[in-house]
């Protein structure tokens, strides 16, 4: 009796436990490495994907294919796509999502919803990129040099993050957070196509879910510094127009930590003041002037660079306010520490009235191996 029960148990468990419903064989999948979304003229979503095709023999490399389809929603166009590609298309390994400008102008929330809702969609390491044209054109490049388009985009964004163009990295999750937060906006990498080349143009600024403005490359670096962050390097080139020191100076402020003071203060009549100061430590990498950079002249250089960068920082803040992009989270500070005031405010309108007091201080700590 006992023996037969044991045998029955063994048979049953081999029959029942070996199987698994939620399995997917890699050989059956077509992995999409990069995805692009555009808004068509009749307000539908056009999805373009780069599929990676495994090699047929072990010696040859993988190939990629580009497909696109139009549907009423993101998932809808994915379903359309599945009718076109061979086998099952999955985005499990998706690393980058390109969004066309028209779609970004129209709001990110509806097309992004599926990314947050379906747990199978990766989100923690997916970069979002905005392009000034059509995302399908970017993905449609298929290959850049030796690299497939998806790999190229990821490598490009990651290297630009190290160069402080975009930092800290914005992924699907951080964007989700900012999309839902009334007191915090975000900026995404902004790229474009020049001829056959994919060029970084700076950052695209967002308010709520809408694309509202852009910053060029130098200003993007300044924005990162104003956030108090920097990648491995943050290189700026400025022209000094001051007597004997006249010349161009290239310096790197990303090697040392940025010191930042950020204070949100409320005046008597409920007006909001923001004090935003950063202190940068720079390493000179290039100087085309003829005067040697002695200790005395460095004082002048520090003064000049601080002036130039302060002016630039104020311009950046003005552009941010014009775009209504509360990237520093002033609204979040108000929610947290001045809640009753926040409730009276219509932040979308009143953010532009915030008075920023911005100041940048540069001190050169290294001039390289010559003076």
């Amino acid at each position: 009796m006992k023996r037969s029960v044991a045998v029955l148990g063994a048979v049953l468990s081999t029959a029942m436990l070996a199987g698994c419903w939620d399995r997917e064989y890699l050989k059956d999948l077509n992995l999409a490495y990069s995805v692009g979304f555009d808004l068509t003229k009749d307000k539908k979503i056009k999805e373009t994907v780069e599929l990676i095709i495994p090699p047929e023999s072990e010696q040859s490399g993988t190939k990629n294919e580009i497909h696109s389809a139009v549907g009423p929603t993101t998932r809808g166009s994915s379903n359309e796509l599945r009718a076109r590609v061979r086998g099952n298309m999955r985005v499990l390994k998706n690393g980058v999502q390109v969004i066309g400008k028209d779609l970004a102008l129209n709001g990110l929330k509806p097309p992004m919803d599926v990314n947050f809702r379906d747990p199978d969609n990766p989100s923690s390491n997916v970069r979002l990129i905005i392009t000034d044209g059509e995302a399908s054109e970017i993905i449609g490049q298929k290959e850049v040099g030796e690299l497939k388009i998806g790999e190229f985009l990821i490598q490009k964004i990651e290297s630009l993050e190290k160069m402080s163009l975009f930092y800290p990295p914005e992924t699907m999750d951080t964007v989700f957070k900012a999309l839902k937060d009334p007191g915090q906006d975000f900026a995404l990498p902004y790229i474009g196509l020049e001829g056959k080349e994919i060029v970084a143009k700076g950052v695209a600024l967002f308010h709520d879910q809408y694309f509202t403005g852009e910053l060029n490359i130098e200003d993007s670096i300044m924005l990162v510094l104003l956030k108090g962050r920097s990648g491995d390097n943050a290189r700026l080139t400025k022209k000094i127009d001051d007597g004997p020191l006249r010349g161009n100076i290239s310096f790197n402020v990303g090697k040392k930590k940025v010191k930042r003071t950020f204070k949100v203060m409320v005046g008597k009549n409920g007006e909001v003041h923001v004090q935003l100061n950063i202190k940068l430590k720079g390493l000179i990498e290039e100087y085309t002037g003829s005067h040697p950079l002695t200790e005395e002249s460095l004082v002048r250089v520090n003064q000049e660079l601080s002036d130039i960068l302060t002016r630039q920082a104020r311009d950046v803040v003005r552009s941010l306010q014009k775009a209504n992009c509360d990237i520093f989270g002033v609204g979040r500070e108000l929610i947290a520490y001045h809640n009753s005031l926040w409730k009276q405010k219509d932040w979308s309108k009143e953010y532009q009235e915030v008075q920023f007091h911005t100041d940048v201080q540069v001190s050169i700590i290294n001039t390289g191996i010559i003076q």
């Binding site: 419903w21 747990p119 990766p122 989100s123 923690s124 390491n125 989700f176 989270g329 947290a336 809640n339």
Partner: protein, 364 residues
């Protein structure tokens, strides 16, 4: 040695209560509390912990009065043969209901996050088999398993702590946004994740320690669980803004999913199986308590023969609700059952034991 075979040690008790208490509730309390208590959620959890402590104290007063007796025997002693058996049956029903409730929520979470294609009854069946194997054993065996699986708290805590890298203190402020009244009212939403400590009613006589030490150990467990919950809730509140949290019913999992470990992308898929072990412990505690009750009801020595029935009943109860509404109804009934069985009835028993004190002394 026979004595130590039968009883569990103080350290085992500590982990036993923790394992029984921490269940599926913690995955969603940040979400529930965000609705009601907003930034004050951490305070709510602390208050709930304090209330739980009071109930534990009440249990202790009751159990101390009847040395060597567990809940069911106390029921018989106080209620007499007929009424006492009715009480026991009620408690058995309660334990089964709570076990079923945990199992249902656990399987729901597993299906939503990991196993979309796996049929519900398979998951329920696997859970039932696991709990059956544990609950039919002696208490010492269960305690050993709980101790072993407590090691799994370390990765769980590490996962959640890693979320602190994304935390932003401002998200939690203002602390008192909801007002003190709402913060107090929100304790109602947290109590359900505190349940599990009532297993002491059943295992109390089988612990190898003095009464005072038992109380201290149980209180320590409660403190640990409360602090763990405060930590989890505060982390979630600092990582997600309250507008975002409103959309995410299981913020703890969402938090783990959004962590980037470079090689591992979906950390929640690692988190859930580890978590399931803790859930199995919770369900097992209830299944064990119900079987012990049945053994008392039918005046048998060993509870093991009743465990299959308990597990079968739990399995069939969990099969019934198919819609979220039905699940919600089970949730609510479990909540109200808990008010009755772990608050009102034990309170009445303490009160009753005072009245019948003389009678008890005479019979003893």
């Amino acid at each position: 040695m026979a004595q130590t075979e039968k009883k569990i040690s103080a350290r085992q008790l500590f982990l036993f209560i923790i394992q029984a208490q921490i269940g599926v509730g913690v995955l969603s309390i940040p979400y529930k509390l965000n609705e009601t208590a907003r930034g004050g959620a951490g305070i709510t959890v602390l208050i709930t912990g304090a209330i739980t402590q009071l109930i534990i104290l009440m249990f202790w007063l009751l159990l101390r009065k009847f040395p060597g007796l567990n809940l069911f025997q106390i029921c018989l002693r106080l209620g007499g043969r007929v009424f006492g058996k009715l009480l026991i049956a009620g408690y058995i029903g309660y334990f089964v209901l709570l076990g079923a409730n945990i199992m249902l929520s656990a399987v729901g979470v597993l299906q939503r996050w990991m196993m979309n294609a796996t049929p519900t009854w398979i998951l329920l069946g696997l859970f039932s088999i696991m709990t059956y194997y544990l609950a039919k054993e002696k208490l010492t065996v269960m305690a050993r398993f709980y101790t072993l699986s407590s090691a799994l708290f370390i990765p769980l805590i590490i996962f959640v702590s890693y979320g602190l890298t994304q935390a932003r203190l401002e998200y939690m402020f203002p602390l008192m946004e909801a007002g003190i009244w709402n913060i107090l009212k929100a304790t109602k939403d947290t109590t359900i994740s505190m349940y599990g400590f009532e297993v002491i009613l059943v295992i109390f006589p089988f612990i190898d320690a003095s009464d005072k030490k038992k109380l201290m150990i149980i209180s320590m467990s409660n403190l640990f669980v409360t602090l763990f919950y405060v930590f989890v809730v505060c982390t979630c509140l600092m990582v997600f803004s309250s507008e975002q949290l409103r959309l995410i019913p299981e913020p703890v999992l969402y938090l783990v999913k959004s962590l980037n470990f470079y090689i591992v992308d979906r950390a929640d898929v690692l988190f859930l199986p580890i978590w399931s072990i803790t859930l199995v412990c919770s369900i097992t505690s209830y299944a064990y308590a119900a079987s012990v009750g049945l053994a008392q009801l039918f005046e048998r020595k060993s509870h093991g023969v009743f465990t299959p029935y308990v597990n079968a009943v739990i399995f069939f109860i969990t099969l019934l609700p198919a819609t979220p509404l039905a699940t919600r109804r089970l949730d609510v009934s479990a909540e109200y059952a808990a008010y009755l069985f772990i608050f009102i009835l034990p309170f009445a028993m303490v009160f009753g034991s005072k009245l019948f004190k003389k009678k008890v002394e005479r019979s003893a």
